[in-house]
Symmetry: C2
Subunit: 364 residues, 2 copies
C-alpha cells in the first residue's frame, strides 16, 4: 500500500522554522515507528505571492485536494500589508479552507500544567483548563456575498454579508456534538440571536440537531458577548463551544490567550469524510506568523508539532502515536525545555527552535 500523503505549506514569518522541526518529527515516525509519509512541500501566503503573484497557486490548490492531509505553518506579514485585498497572504489560506470545504475548525484551548503560571489569569482559574472550540470555517461573513467597497451617493460604503444556511449550521453542530461525546458531553453554542437573525437560525438549528440526534449531549446557548465574559471569568465551565466563523475567530483567540500557552496550541480544520473515511483536513498552529521574531530561532515549534499530532489522530487514525508525540512534548517541557515565549517569572536560559525540536525528539 502507498504511504499516506502530506502536503506541507510552511508559509510566512516563523512558519518555515517551526515546520522544519515538524519535518524532523515526521521523519522520526517513518524511521522508528514504521509510519512513513509521502511528503511534498509547497508555498502559501506571502511566500507564494513573492514567487507566483498569487497567495496560492492553482497547482498547490489541486494538490491540497488530492493529498491525505495538509500541514500549514502561518501566513501574513507587514511586507504584504499594502497588497490588494484579492492577493493578500490570508486569501491563500481562505481559499484552502473554502475549496477543501473544511467546515469544522477544532481549536483546543488547553492549559499545560508546566505553564499554568504563564497565563495572565490567576492560576486556579486556568490550571487544568481543557476546552474545545469548534468554529465554523467555510461560511458566514468571511465568504458571504455581496461584499466589497461600493460608491453610494458621494461616498463609499464597505459591505460584508453574514450568511448561514440550515445545512451549514447542521453539519458543524454535528461535529461539535460528536466531539462532545468523546469528552465532557457538553456543548455551549454562541451567537447573537438577540440582535441577528442569522443567530436566531443558528440557535434553532443547533437545538434541533441536538434534540433529534444527540439527546444524550447537554446543549446550552449563550450570547457571544456574554461568552467572551464567561471565558475570562470562569473558562472551566465550558467543555465544547460551537460558534460561527467570525465569533469563532475572536473567541478562540481569546480562549487561547487565557491558557498562557499560545505557542503550544494546534488546530485541525476538517471537511466531510472521503470514501476511505478520511476527512479532508488541514492542520495548523493557532498562533500567527510572528514576523517580529521570524528567522531568529526564537519561535516555539510546539503548536505546529502538536498540529501534526492532531493529524495523526484525525486523519490517520493513529491515536496512540498521537498520544506518544503529545507525551514527548510534555516530557520535554517537564525536563525544562523552554523557548523564549515560555520563559516564566522564574527565569532561566531559553533554547532555540531547533533545540526544542531536539528535546522533543529525545523524549520520543
Amino acid at each position: 500500500m502507498a504511504n499516506p500523503s502530506l502536503l506541507i505549506l510552511p508559509g510566512d514569518g516563523i512558519g518555515p522554522e517551526v515546520m522544519a522541526q515538524v519535518t524532523r518529527i515526521i521523519d522520526w515516525f517513518g524511521e522508528k515507528r514504521d509510519l512513513a509519509f509521502d511528503v511534498e512541500h509547497d508555498l502559501v501566503g506571502g511566500a507564494a505571492y513573492d514567487k507566483h503573484g498569487t497567495p496560492l497557486h492553482d497547482d498547490t490548490m489541486a494538490r491540497a485536494l488530492e493529498v491525505d492531509a495538509v500541514l500549514l505553518g502561518a501566513v501574513g506579514g507587514p511586507k504584504y500589508d499594502d497588497l490588494d485585498f484579492s492577493v493578500k497572504p490570508e486569501r491563500g489560506l481562505l481559499r484552502l479552507r473554502k475549496e477543501m470545504d473544511l467546515f469544522s475548525n477544532l481549536r483546543p484551548a488547553q492549559c499545560f500544567d508546566a505553564l499554568a503560571d504563564f497565563s495572565s489569569l490567576k492560576k486556579d482559574i486556568v490550571a487544568g483548563l481543557d476546552i474545545m472550540i469548534v468554529r465554523e470555517l467555510t461560511s458566514g461573513v468571511y465568504f458571504g456575498e455581496p461584499r466589497g467597497i461600493f460608491e453610494e451617493g458621494n461616498e463609499r460604503v464597505g459591505i460584508n454579508t453574514q450568511r448561514y444556511t440550515e445545512s451549514e449550521i447542521e453539519r458543524v453542530a454535528r461535529s461539535a456534538f460528536e466531539l462532545a461525546r468523546r469528552r465532557g458531553n457538553k456543548v455551549c453554542s454562541m451567537e447573537k440571536a438577540n440582535v441577528m437573525e442569522s443567530g436566531i437560525l443558528w440557535r434553532e438549528v443547533t437545538q434541533r440537531v441536538r434534540d433529534a440526534e444527540y439527546p444524550d449531549v447537554e446543549l446550552s446557548h449563550m450570547y457571544a458577548d456574554n461568552g467572551a465574559m464567561q471565558l475570562v471569568r470562569a473558562p472551566k465551565q465550558f467543555d465544547v463551544i460551537v460558534t460561527d466563523n467570525l465569533f469563532g475567530d475572536i473567541l478562540s483567540d481569546c480562549a487561547a490567550m487565557l491558557t498562557g500557552s499560545l505557542g503550544m496550541l494546534p488546530s485541525a480544520s476538517l471537511g466531510a469524510p472521503n470514501a476511505d473515511g478520511r476527512p479532508k483536513a488541514l492542520y495548523e498552529p493557532v498562533h500567527g506568523s510572528a514576523p517580529d521574531i521570524a528567522g531568529q530561532g526564537k519561535a516555539n515549534p510546539i503548536a505546529c508539532i502538536l498540529s501534526f499530532a492532531m493529524a495523526l489522530r484525525y486523519s490517520f487514525d493513529q491515536g496512540e502515536e498521537a498520544a506518544r508525540l503529545e507525551k514527548a512534548v510534555e516530557q520535554a517541557l517537564a525536563d525544562g525545555a523552554r523557548t523564549p515565549d515560555l520563559m516564566g517569572p522564574e527565569g532561566g536560559t531559553p533554547i532555540t527552535t531547533e533545540e526544542m525540536g531536539n528535546a522533543i525528539l529525545k523524549a520520543l
Copy 2:
C-alpha cells in the same frame, strides 16, 4: 431657566432596583447642590412589552428625543426569550440607539483599586487599568439590510449585513480622537481588514481622519482577534480603542470582565450635539438585567450611579459634580461597602442594593 430634563427607563430585571438608588442620588443633587432635574419615568424592554405589546412605545420614543438625557437600567430576561424577534426587549434599546442616532458608545473599562483582587486576572496585569472603548452604535451588522431568515431552495438561510459608510466611520473616529486628546492621546482601531472589505474601509478612513485632523494623536490598527488576545494578555497597553458595533459589543464585554468590576462599569451613548451644544445622550450600566438575582436586593447599583455621573459630565457640563459623585463611590468602597458581587476572597458580610445607596449618599 427650566431645569434640565431626564427620562428614566428602568427596564427589566435588576434595572428598577438599581435605578431606585440613582433616583435618590439625583434628588440629593437637587437638594444639596442646587442641581435640580425634571425627571420622568417610563417603560422599556420587557416591561414595556408587558404593558403595551411593544418594547418601546412611540410616546416614549418621542420623549427620549425631547429630553436632555435618558438614563436606562437594563433590558431582557428569560421570560421574553420566545417572543418574536421584532418585539424582543432588546429591540426597544436598539430603537432608542438608532432613532436618537447615538453613534458613539463610550465604555470605560476601569479597575477600581479596592477591587483589583476580584479580577480573574493577576493583580499586576489589571491594577490601575483605565481603558476607554469607543464602540460605533448605530450601524454595522446590528442594523444593515438585507436581514432576516429566508427560504432558499428547500432550506432556510439566515442573513445579516455588515455595512459602514465613510461618514459613519468618520464621525465615530472623531469622537475617539477627541476623547484620546483628553486622556493618553493614543487610539487603537480594531477590525478584520484582512478578511472583510468593511474593515478595509474602516482602517482607511480612521487613518485619514487622524492624518488630516488629529496628527497629534497616535493611531494604531489591530485585527480584532488579536485585539481580544491583547486585552487578555496586557490590557494596559491600550488607552482608547475604537471599533465597530459588533466587535465593540464583544471586546467591551471582555474588557469589562477583565477589571473584575462588572457591576461598577457605566456607559454613555452619544449622538451629535444639538443647537445648545448638548449631544443626544443615553446612559446605562454595562451589565445586563441579571434576571437570576432580580428583586432580591442583591444588585450592585454602582454601574448605574456612575452612568448618572457620566451624564453629569457629558450632558450637563458638570464635571466637578461628576467627580464628586465618583469620589463618593470610591469612598463608600474604601469604607468597606460591598454588595454580594463585590465579595472578594477575604469574605465579609454583603449589604443590599439600598444599603449601598445609603453608603454612597453618606459619602456625598
